[in-house]
């Protein structure tokens, strides 16, 4: 039932920005070839090791290819031994050589797989690091276009696909290529006819793998599509399950699910079938190859030894396996490249809000905030703010109000430079916020959001987020100021109590108190409050209001109000309608003017109630 915090944030924050989704993505597609090259650069950072790995793979393949050769020599000597009683010593020598080669093969293989594990995981580490660090620099516009869930699953799945290819794909690819090459070379050196006998099935093998790949890819793509629509259907009907039950539409849902699930079943069976038959196909071709080698060997037996045929029988067996391996690696490669190109898209996204060259940090003396002729739109063509001009004097409280979508949150997003204005200027103590370092701007603006955002760490950690070098005493002091100390002490581990994801083990009100304490620690010059909509119990509500009042005192504050009563005491109220400032001034003055704010105030009260209130006032005056 409970929504996760990011869903709430999305829901609330996107009201104004909801149109953005419909605009095309700003991510620029990265070409597959480029993505592959850039992915490879992560591996090539360890050039020395990579060359070492390749050498090891080569040696390993040589050892492996020589074993059947010595087996063949051994068999010949064995025939000699049987027929003439000689050659026993050579057999011993050959088998020792074979054992040596076996050891060499396994040793080199161990070394290169080991090395490759280290390289691939280091590369994965760097890739993850680059990605995360880059995301930190991106502006909010980027996040508006990529819902967190989508971004998450994209990053997680894509990174996994890349990991698969890097840790298993690369060395197996070299292994397969070297094995094929070296075996082919040795075969051609020993006997061209038998070599051709082994190689004759090669085109058949390539053809069958190609055909299989082609159909398998179609099947998998269709499967992905069907799975996508089935998962979408499940996601929708299970999360909306209560609604379905309330309206007794279970039967219809089940019928439709039967349909989508059956579609998945059909294409799933096909995809799995195509996946399964690669192995028997390899076996078929290997076995046919054995027979062909046997026949050709028989045909030329006068010029050949039995041992040579035995060697080639082994090669025929070893040849098909790397071929089918390559087809597996190819499919890994495809998904790795697809993943990489999406990851690089993110890495290529340019932060839209950047500091000017050599911008100085802001110097806030008393917190004089000025908006001058500010125009703004999230999406070109759909203007949100029109010509907004107003001033907040040091220490003043400014209440922002207006209907949903009027632009209240936008003003705050502009002040903290989460977005840049299209026209006009915003300045703090006569310094334009576009001429100073954005980090310093945000450090001097404290923001308390309507949905408390907490990390799944201890309470202390979450408090300290406001000031990293705060001492424990400072944190406790801030918690006391925010009325959070008492409930924290009642928790089993006090300040060390770990919070569950999204602060789920605290009530909404407690979460708000924590974020207020965090703002106390940050001690900003200017304060921005996005007032909470959800109701909490009356005592917590009172605590929150008092704590906020304490926090605001002496700081220039902007409060977005959802209930007008909380901003009635503001120095100035700014009423917005469709992005224009329609009313400006203190509460009493605006009520007298009977303008837009008056109507908002009245609609909240309902006229009859106002009358009632007037009457009660009158009655009160009369009695006193």
């Amino acid at each position: 039932m409970s929504q996760t915090p990011q869903v709430k944030i999305e829901k609330e924050e996107k009201l104004e920005a909801k149109l953005i989704k419909e605009v095309e993505e700003e991510l620029i597609e990265v070409k597959k070839g480029k993505a592959f090259g850039r992915l490879f650069n992560y591996i090539l950072a360890y050039k020395g090791r990579v060359i070492f790995v390749i050498i090891m793979v080569f040696l390993s393949a040589v050892c492996q290819a020589l074993i059947p050769y010595f087996l063949g020599l051994g068999v010949d000597k064995f025939v000699e031994l049987v027929n003439f009683g000689t050659g026993g010593d050579q057999i011993i020598l050959y088998s020792i050589v074979m054992a040596g080669l076996a050891l060499g093969f396994s040793l080199t293989r161990w070394i290169y797989i080991h090395q490759m594990s280290i390289i691939s995981q280091k590369a994965m580490y760097s890739l993850r690091k680059d990605l995360f660090n880059h995301i930190q620099t991106l502006s909010l516009r980027f996040y508006d276009k990529q819902p967190v869930g989508e971004l998450m699953s994209r990053v997680v799945n894509d990174i996994e696909a890349i990991n698969q290819f890097l840790s298993d794909g690369i060395y197996q690819l070299f292994q397969a290529l070297f094995t094929i090459g070296i075996i082919a070379a040795i075969m051609l050196i020993i006997n061209i006819w038998l070599a051709l006998a082994v190689l004759v099935t090669l085109p058949l093998m390539i053809f069958m793998i190609y055909i299989n790949n082609k159909y398998a890819r179609i099947a998998y793509t269709t499967l992905q599509e069907e799975l996508g629509s089935m998962n979408g259907f499940m996601e929708e009907t299970i999360s909306g399950s209560k609604t379905i039950k309330a309206y007794q539409l279970e039967e219809i849902a089940m019928e439709r699910f039967d349909d989508v699930s059956d579609k998945v079943r059909k294409v799933d069976a096909r995809a799995n079938f195509l996946g399964l038959i690669i192995f028997p196909t390899t076996i078929l071709i290997t076995t046919i190859d054995l027979a062909i080698v046997g026949m050709v060997g028989g045909w030329f037996i006068a010029a050949l030894s039995v041992g040579t045929v035995v060697t080639f029988l082994s090669y025929a067996r070893q040849f098909a396996q790397p071929m089918s391996q390559i087809s597996q690696i190819y499919s890994w490669l495809l998904s790795a490249i697809a993943g990489a190109s999406r990851v690089f898209e993110i890495l290529d996204a340019k932060p839209q809000i950047v500091d000017k060259l050599n911008a100085p940090p802001i110097e806030v003396k008393d917190g004089h905030v000025e908006f001058e002729h500010v125009d703004f739109s999230y999406v070109p063509g759909i203007q949100i703010l029109y010509d907004n001009t107003f001033k907040a004097l040091p220490g003043q409280k400014i209440g922002l109000c207006g209907p949903t979508g009027a632009g209240k949150s936008t003003i705050i997003n502009l002040l903290t430079r989460f977005y840049d204005v299209q026209n006009g200027d915003i300045s703090i103590d006569d310094q334009s916020i576009y001429d100073i370092k954005q980090d310093s701007l945000r450090k001097s603006c404290g923001i308390v959001l309507q949905v408390p955002y907490l990390f799944s760490e201890s309470i202390m950690y979450n408090l300290r987020y406001g000031k990293l070098d705060a001492t424990d005493e400072e944190c406790v002091e801030a918690a006391k100021m925010a009325f959070a100390h008492d409930f924290i002490m009642r928790l089993p581990q006090g300040y060390d109590t770990p919070l569950s994801e999204g602060g789920g083990n605290l009530s909404q009100g407690q979460g708000q108190l924590l974020t207020i304490a965090r703002a106390f620690l940050a001690n900003p010059n200017i304060l921005v409050l996005d007032e909470a909509t959800s109701s909490v119990d009356t005592r917590t509500e009172k605590n929150i209001q008092t704590a906020l009042a304490r926090l605001m005192s002496g700081r220039t504050s902007f409060v977005i109000a959802h209930r007008l009563s909380t901003i009635a005491d503001s120095d100035n109220i700014l009423a917005l309608d469709h992005g224009r400032i329609v009313d400006w001034g203190p509460h009493e003055k605006l009520l007298e003017e009977k303008g837009f704010y008056y109507r908002l105030w009245m609609s909240q009260f309902k006229e009859e109630l106002m009358k009632e209130k007037e009457e009660m006032k009158k009655a009160k005056q009369e009695t006193s």
């Binding site: 691939s120 995360f132 026949m295």
Partner: protein, 586 residues
């Protein structure tokens, strides 16, 4: 393993699966038998054909090999078809069973299983079982057959070399045992680290405004890097282990081949072994078959364990006891007036064992709603408002007391009839991917005019018709192409569409502004003839016109009455009123 047997019993002979399994196994045994026969044929080829120069025999044997290979191939392809189909059929079967069960679950059951949990069961758990089922059908019988047959044939072909087979079996099983024993915990640790890393990423993305507002980018990078380093270390460990285990298997195989040659020759020369070169080659080929079978089994076993765990999780849903079950002789309710009486009602949620929690969510609730009255319920989050109204359509059952509608206990009613008379707009407005019209009708049999009428009342008609497609406009998955307020208005229209005798609005105007809310409230009476209405609201302005207001705190009704009454009698009501609408007197 237990869960798999349990499943086979549960699925029974679904779609003739037993017969198909039987066929598949016969085909697979043919395939395996041919593969075992090839080394024997090679021996004949070498000893009787090539060594003796008997060309005719060489050709006959080779032709036989080709014919057998093709026969085996056909058998294996058919078996693959059977295996893939059985796997996908089972998956479909499980999905349908699970989904049907989910549709039968009561709200209480649903609260205990999260949506994401249920979806994981329907997707990855079903998938784990499907994969295992395919592999079991295709390989589980083939590998033991190849193993036993290979060992037997190896003994038959070259009895003096048999100790080599014993050595291979011993060492290989030991290495594979290490693999099965050591890698799963390593992968689990790695997965744990990966989850931790992803949590940092997830929180960073979701809390981007906080991170930016406090300028904590550097700090976040450090936090991520710490976990990234640990993940790198944990991820390398299993890879390094496999890097040593896999080559050791190759080492055994190759050493065994050289040993075959060595002992074959040595034994022939010194111990009088009766052995030919063809037998040695055949023997080495059988070693391949034996090793291959062992490795396949080692890969299969963890897969089966995983499938068993997944099945266990699936059964947990399938066998969950329903909290709410219709009585056998339930009363049919063709007509309803809508007089709702709560008689000393208390309710506790059930825990996982189906036993009520000790602390009730609502306690001793008593009130009566007369037909056509509007009842508003006011109170802080967690005070029990939603719980109270959820009892009326019997989404949950009371723990004590009873709720009657027109004098009949809701627990005695036919659930379908009961809910059929109730229109409800839940807190979270769910839209479904269809068009707007269907989302409003939602099963109700009403005309387009009536759809428009209820949309009008819910203040949805104007924004619906402002789009070119109007009522035919497609609703995207979960209604993401509509704003929160629009979704709520459509869901109110939906509740009205079924001409309910009882209407429940569960905080269903929280995302629309006050003016719109007022409009909706004003229009409601035009479609509600004699409908008892329950409204849950956070804003006091919403509840002013109600016939009766129930003020709730900590699960109890602390005051009830009309607005003017409560202003005088309840200090708490007055306090809430003033905190929201300002002081009554200055």
């Amino acid at each position: 393993m237990g869960n798999i047997l349990r499943f086979l019993k549960y699925a029974g002979n679904y779609k003739g699966v037993i017969r198909r399994f039987f066929f598949a196994e016969i085909l697979i045994l043919i395939w395996a038998a041919v593969q075992l026969l090839i080394p024997i044929l090679l021996q004949v080829l070498i000893d009787n054909g090539l060594t003796l120069g008997n060309l005719e025999l060489v050709f006959d044997v080779c032709l036989l090999i080709i014919v057998l290979a093709v026969v085996a191939f056909v058998a294996s392809i058919l078996a693959a078809k059977y295996s893939a189909n059985i796997g996908s059929d089972y998956a479909h079967f499980l999905r349908i069973k699970l989904y049907t069960k989910i549709e039968e679950l009561s709200f209480g059951n649903l609260d205990r299983f999260q949506t994401s949990d249920l979806i994981v069961r329907l997707t990855s758990d079903v998938n784990n079982y499907r994969n295992a089922a395919i592999q079991i059908v295709y390989y589980l019988f083939r590998s033991p057959f190849m193993l036993v047959g290979g060992v037997f044939l190896a003994f038959a072909v070259a009895p003096p070399l048999f100790p080599i087979i014993l050595m291979i079996l011993g060492v290989t099983i030991f290495i594979l045992y290490l693999y099965i024993k050591l890698t799963p915990p390593m992968y689990r640790r790695m997965q744990k680290r990966l989850d931790e890393l992803n949590l940092v990423l997830q929180e960073n993305l979701a809390g981007v405004r906080v991170v930016k507002a406090f300028v904590r980018n550097e700090h976040e990078m450090e936090r991520f890097d710490e976990r990234n380093v640990t993940l790198k270390e944990e991820a390398t460990k299993p890879l390094k282990l496999i890097a040593i285990l896999e080559p050791s298997l190759w080492l055994i195989l190759n050493i065994a081949i050289s040993a075959s040659l060595f002992f074959g020759a040595w034994g022939y020369a010194n111990w009088g072994f009766d052995i030919t070169s063809g037998e040695i080659v055949s023997f080495t080929n059988l070693i391949f078959a034996i090793m291959g079978a062992l490795v396949t089994l080692a890969i299969l076993l963890p897969m089966i364990t995983k499938a068993g765990v997944s099945l266990g999780r699936i059964f947990k849903v399938l066998e969950d006891n329903l909290d709410i079950v219709q009585k056998k002789n339930a009363v049919k309710v063709p007509e309803m007036k809508g007089r709702v009486v709560f008689n000393n009602v208390s309710m506790s949620y059930l825990n996982e064992e189906g036993i009520p929690n000790e602390t009730p969510v609502i306690k001793n609730i008593n009130f009566t709603a007369e037909p056509g009255e509007m009842i508003a319920i006011l109170g802080a989050t967690g005070s029990g408002k939603s719980t109270l109204i959820n009892l009326i359509p019997r989404f949950y059952d009371v723990t004590q007391g009873k709720i009657t509608i027109d004098g009949v206990d809701v627990r005695d009613m036919d659930i379908g009839d009961l809910r059929g008379h109730i229109g409800i707009a839940l807190q979270k407005a769910n839209l479904f991917s269809s068009n707007v019209r269907n989302n409003i009708k939602f099963g109700a049999d009403i005309s387009q005019e009536y759809v428009e009428k209820v949309a009008e009342v819910a203040d949805a008609h104007s924004f619906i018709t402002s789009h070119v497609d109007g009522y035919d406009r497609q609703v995207a998955r979960k209604g993401v192409n509509f704003s929160g307020g629009q979704r709520q208005r459509i869901s109110i229209a939906r509740a009205l569409a079924r001409k309910p005798k009882i209407l429940i609005l569960d905080d269903s105007t929280s995302a629309v502004d006050v003016a719109t809310e007022t409009r909706i409230q004003g229009a409601l009476p035009s479609v509600l003839e004699e409908t008892t209405t329950f409204v849950i609201a956070q804003r006091i302005s919403t509840v002013l016109i109600a016939d009766k207001i129930l003020l709730m705190e900590n699960g109890e009704i602390v005051a009830q009455g009309a607005h003017r009454e409560l202003l005088d009698t309840s200090p708490l009501y007055r306090e809430i009123y003033e905190s929201q609408l300002g002081k009554l007197e200055d």
